[in-house]
């Protein structure tokens, strides 16, 4: 049974300052961790802000956990944690007091908010710095405390806007580990907005690519990864070293493999269920042929993104 959608975009359009920033967005997102990708100005942050109720839709609507963003903003916000892209904090407070305030604003009683604030700060790795004023934190620490305040009240859905911005490699690694930990724990869904393909590829199961305020492509990365494992590109040679792709294609067809000629006299194969790459080696050995090269024809997120940027702005790639 397919998972219930977390976010449904239903012809959503948003106009800011007289300019249409998001246009007719339609998608249904259901993964544990969903990536929002797009170049700068594509509308990723505007989409998050609209889902949070900061901007009113000009047309269409969206639903978060089935709740309409036009009429149930407070109920939606009660289930969300938001980590903004920009530096955001309340000045003149210690880390733990800041996170506690945010948890109390989300509806936790003071004692529970204090307990969760301590836990959230330890969880993100700021346990030792929790009594220091937030104003004195480094950029990396400010990113972490933004994550802590988004987590402290225990939301069902996390919006992370460019969470690795300005982080050095170890801090970036730690942030991505935390995101993957939250994803794998299964207690909260994550929407990760980023322009960094690697961040999205490492954490997300689904990706929505935006271009000029439209959905350029929606891809289920898990399904893509599974499909990619069935696509092979082979360089097959006869015993004398001559290319033997056509002969091998006939042999593979007997196992139910579809084939097509590739570049440089290679052979592209689609493996049916129950047939694995090692079967190809056995087939070649039985026919006295050699497989000198075998590649999984992997369509990386970068390929998807680049195709989306080149494709029509109506969702077709």
């Amino acid at each position: 049974m397919p998972a219930a959608p977390i976010i449904e975009l239903d012809g959503l359009a948003v106009s800011l300052g007289g300019r249409l920033v998001l246009r007719d967005l339609r998608a249904s997102l259901a993964g544990r961790c969903i990536g929002l990708l797009g170049p700068n100005g594509a509308g990723k942050t505007t989409l998050l802000h609209t889902l949070l109720g900061f901007f009113r839709p000009a047309a269409g609507t969206a639903r978060v956990f089935g709740k309409d963003i036009r009429s149930e903003t407070a109920a939606i916000r009660a289930q969300m944690g938001y980590m903004p892209e920009t530096d955001s904090f309340i000045a003149g407070m210690s880390g733990v007091r800041f996170v506690r305030l945010m948890a109390e604003l989300s509806g936790l009683p003071p004692a529970a908010a204090l307990e969760r604030a301590h836990e959230a700060l330890f969880y993100v790795g700021l346990g030792e710095a929790r009594y220091r004023p937030v104003d004195s934190y480094s950029l990396g620490m400010k990113q972490l405390i933004k994550l802590a305040q988004a987590l402290a009240h225990g939301p069902r859905l996390l919006f992370l806007d460019e969470p690795t911005n300005g982080l050095d490699p170890p801090a970036r690694r730690r942030m991505l580990d935390l995101i993957r930990g939250i994803r794998d724990g299964g207690e909260a869904r994550v929407i990760l907005s980023s322009h960094l393909l690697r961040d999205v590829e490492e954490c997300c199961e689904e990706v929505l690519v935006l271009k000029e305020g439209r959905v350029a492509v929606y891809a289920n990365l898990e399904a893509e990864r599974r499909a990619n494992r069935r696509l092979l590109e082979l360089d097959v040679r006869a015993a004398d070293g001559a290319p033997a792709a056509p002969a091998f294609a006939e042999l593979a067809a007997a196992l139910g493999c579809e084939s097509a000629p590739g570049a440089r006299q290679r052979l592209k194969l689609v493996l049916p269920d129950g047939v694995e790459a090692r079967d190809m080696f056995q087939l070649a050995a039985g026919a006295g042929m050699q497989i000198r090269r075998l590649d999984y024809k992997r369509d990386s997120l970068e390929d998807i993104f680049l195709k989306a940027m080149e494709g029509d702005p109506d969702g077709r790639v």
Binding site: F54, A78, P84, G107, P109, L151, G185
Partner: protein, 289 residues
């Protein structure tokens, strides 16, 4: 999200009601304001005039104390009548202290949140812009109340108790004027101070702008009034406008030629303008056109 487990867990405990959630902002803001020793000292000084009023009322009704001080009762009653003028004068003095208090406190309430993009954090929660503004306003309202109408009404009740029911009934209007006049000051002053703080994100500059608005506009209004001979220019002076409203409420002579209705209209229009400016600024994100 137990510390030792280092894993994320949802919160499934009890939640507070929206009404109680509204009190979170004033509670934290008040605690932040009271952290400053200088402010606490000033706040305590604000209670000196009501304390002096308390002593005056006590002396008027304590013959043995007057004898000890060698002050004849008739002379004291003549020099210091406890009537509408006494309470209006007290409110005027406390009003000035309330202005200083607002200049000190208001910029610390809103400016840092705007400067550090804190509003996005407040407003991404089940917490509205109106609740945010009301929460911040309530801090000023509470502090100014404790130095205006609350001590004023306590002094009035003490005087009424010592003087007798006749005085209490005769001066009943003063009680209403104290309460209404104080709230006129609280609402208009708080909205002005918060609106300025919202538009000027730097605390010291916001304080300077507030002082300019108060003193320079007062002076400008007075000069224009003298030059043009019309009370219209006095509408620029918040002090004159508020004191005109108070004079109308207490039933005293108006301080200038400005009618009380004009002062009310100016205050309402000014407060609505400040509220509009405040709400325009209090947004999670500013849209740059």
């Amino acid at each position: 999200m137990a510390v030792y487990e280092r894993t994320y867990h949802r919160y499934d405990g009890p939640m507070t009601t929206p009404r109680r959630r509204f009190l979170v902002v004033p509670r934290y803001a008040l605690a932040g304001v009271m952290r400053s020793r200088a402010f606490v000292m000033f706040y305590l000084l604000c209670f000196l005039p009501p304390f002096a009023g308390l002593i005056a009322i006590y002396l008027r009704h304590n013959l043995s104390a007057l004898k000890l001080l060698n002050v004849p009762l008739d002379r004291l009653r003549e020099a210091l009548p406890i009537d509408a003028r006494f309470f209006a004068g007290g409110l005027s003095l406390q009003g000035f202290l309330a202005f200083v208090l607002a200049v000190v406190v208001a910029p610390a309430l809103i400016s840092p949140d705007l400067r550090n993009n804190g509003l996005a954090l407040y407003l991404s929660r089940p917490f509205s812009r109106a609740e945010y503004v009301a929460g911040k306003l309530s801090v000023l309202a509470l502090l100014i109340s404790t130095i205006t109408w609350i001590p004023g009404i306590l002094l009035f009740l003490l005087q009424g108790y010592l003087e007798g029911a006749g005085w209490f009934v005769a001066q009943g209007r003063v009680l209403a004027a104290l309460f209404a006049g104080s709230w006129v000051l609280i609402v208009s002053l708080s909205l002005l101070a918060l609106a300025v703080s919202a538009w000027v994100k730097w605390k010291p500059v916001a304080r300077i702008v507030l002082l300019i608005l108060f003193f320079v506009m007062n002076g400008f209004g007075r000069v224009m009034e003298m030059a043009l001979g019309t009370w219209w220019s006095e509408l620029l002076s918040m002090r004159v406008v508020v004191e005109t409203v108070w004079a109308g409420l207490f039933g005293l002579a108006l301080p200038t030629g400005m009618p009380a209705a004009a002062a009310w209209a100016a205050l309402v229009a000014g407060s609505l303008l400040c509220l509009g400016l405040l709400l325009r600024r209090v947004r999670a994100y500013e849209v740059v056109r």
